[in-house]
């Protein structure tokens, strides 16, 4: 991966405060009294099993969902206020990429600087091509998202986020649906980008390896509640059996299904 530090992208960054956040959909609680503090410049990983509410939590930080009660602050700005997006460069890398399918990779990346008139077309081109180079995507510049592999789509989504020169970077399941090699690549990209930009990064994932590799601090969310927060080392041998079972799942070899397989083998 090309270095990012030579670029002028690095700028200010924000901390995030989640204060007694509750969210219900049609009366069904999804988030219950969630409180978290993400410090400026750190990588904070939120882990949890499927359906635990971690993506909904991330959408609240991005201002895409309104809380039922409680609040999310980016710096001292309310995340649910549309004005906040005008003051904070927030980028969200969606789980499925959410690339604009009718646009080429180049246009996907150029959209933000064009719409916000950040520079002229030559400047936009330079900015887009430099970002694509950082993520080794030069050859994909004229392709449409439908022509890309899953791993490339993820990298283009990250590139699109980087073009925004984010002050807060959010990742929703960045390694889901990827093979182990591509997962490792994406993990490396996230860690390197944070090192080079010092941008506050929140990652939502159920990938234990990713979390332990990149997190400065992490939290485990289960059934919409924060079960534990701490440094990655504290999660290597957790005392809470539910967290231990989630992070280090064991297969019960005495299960009748495995017994049957063993008998068949004999």
């Amino acid at each position: 991966m090309a270095t990012y530090s030579s670029s002028p992208f690095a700028g200010k960054t924000f901390g995030v405060t989640i204060d007694k956040l509750n969210k219900s959909f049609d009366g069904v609680p999804v988030l219950r009294d969630v409180s978290l503090e993400v410090r400026p410049g750190e990588i904070f990983v939120i882990m949890g099993p499927s359906g635990s509410g971690k993506s909904v939590l991330l959408k609240h930080v991005a201002g895409l969902e309104l809380p039922t009660s409680g609040r999310v602050l980016i710096g001292d700005l309310d995340a649910s206020d549309p004005q906040t997006r005008e003051r904070v460069h927030l980028a969200l890398v969606f789980q499925a990429g959410a690339l604009f399918n009718s646009m080429t990779v180049y246009d996907n990346l150029a959209l933000y600087p064009r719409e916000h008139r950040l520079c002229n077309e030559a400047g936009i081109r330079e900015r887009v091509l430099r970002t694509l180079q950082i993520l080794s995507l030069e050859k994909a510049v004229d392709k449409f998202p439908g022509e890309l592999s899953g791993g490339m789509k993820k990298r283009v989504a990250i590139a699109r986020a980087l073009v925004m020169e984010p002050e807060l970077l959010l990742y929703d399941e960045p390694t889901s649906e990827l093979d182990p090699v591509m997962s490792a690549t994406i993990t490396e990209i996230i860690a390197t980008l944070r090192e080079q930009t010092a941008v506050t990064t929140i990652v939502v994932s159920h990938d234990r390896d990713l979390a332990l590799a990149i997190a400065d601090r992490m939290a485990v969310i289960m059934d919409g509640r924060i079960r534990a927060t701490g440094k990655p080392g504290e999660f290597k041998n957790p005392a809470d059996p539910a967290i231990a079972n989630f992070l280090n799942p064991t297969i019960d070899l005495k299960h009748p299904r495995f017994q049957q397989l063993e008998n068949d083998h004999e």
Partner: protein, 250 residues
């Protein structure tokens, strides 16, 4: 009660969408390429079907009225009947229905797909309001293209009627007589009323289709459901509005 709530919610969100899009009116000049693209999609690509259908609607109108009016010896008024019917009613309504079926469905499908695949959410996080980028250029384009389409529909309908009058044995009204009758009772107000109707219908169709698309939730199946909902809603609204707008304009 639940249905009434849904109807009121739908009306509210549609009006709100129009207001939000209107707030970005000053950005229209720099969205000129997008506006032109929408003019092409809404106007140019709809033109062939408008031409064909309106030609045959004018023809059938002349044929039916010729058949009936011959009994009263009123064949010389066929031009008046076809002309006024096309300008005041059939032209705007038919164009609006075609725009709803052809353009409205495409708009809903595109926006619903963008919503389902989180492209709209991506725009929001990039601080690019969907109302500015996706709704405003379409509304502006439909306002420009509807009078053009309605005028083409009127002209094609008139000429369709004229051809039928000339070449149908039991009618045999020459084009000169046909167009003289058409002009005699036609006023500028009739033309303007028709164009106003077309503007209103087109605006409502695109607004409703955008709103339904942007409020789609769920997966690919809901995209289809949204398209059906948007087209049915548009057709109902065109006919309901037609009555009230006609009543106001008469």
């Amino acid at each position: 009660m639940k249905q009434l709530h849904a109807i009121l919610e739908g009306i509210g969100s549609t009006v709100l969408l129009a207001v939000r899009a209107g707030r970005y009116l000053n950005t229209l000049p720099r969205q000129f390429p997008r506006f032109i693209e929408q003019c092409y999609l809404i106007g140019y690509t709809t033109m062939p079907i408008v031409t064909i259908l309106s030609f045959f609607i004018g023809s059938v109108l002349a044929l039916q009225s010729g058949y009936s009016m011959e009994n009263f010896g009123a064949k010389q008024f066929i031009g008046t009947l076809v002309g006024l019917s096309m300008v005041r009613e059939l032209g705007p309504v038919m164009v609006a229905i075609l725009v709803a079926g052809r353009v409205g469905s495409a708009i809903t499908a595109e926006l619903a797909s963008m919503k389902v695949y989180q492209e709209i959410d991506a725009l929001v996080t990039m601080n690019i309001p969907p109302e500015r980028m996706l709704v405003l250029p379409r509304l502006a384009a439909v306002l420009v293209m509807m009078p053009v389409l309605a005028t083409i529909a009127n002209l094609c309908g008139w000429y369709g009627g004229a051809l039928v009058c000339k070449y149908t044995g039991f009618i045999s009204v020459e084009p000169d007589a046909y167009f003289a009758a058409l002009k005699r009772f036609m006023e500028m107000k009739d033309v303007c009323d028709g164009l106003i109707k077309a503007e209103i219908f087109g605006f409502v169709v695109v607004l409703v289709c955008c709103n339904v698309g942007l409020n789609t939730r769920g997966g690919p199946r809901e995209i289809g459901a949204s398209v059906t909902k948007a087209v049915v809603l548009s057709l109902v609204l065109i006919l309901v509005l037609d009555y009230f707008v006609t009543k106001v304009l008469i």
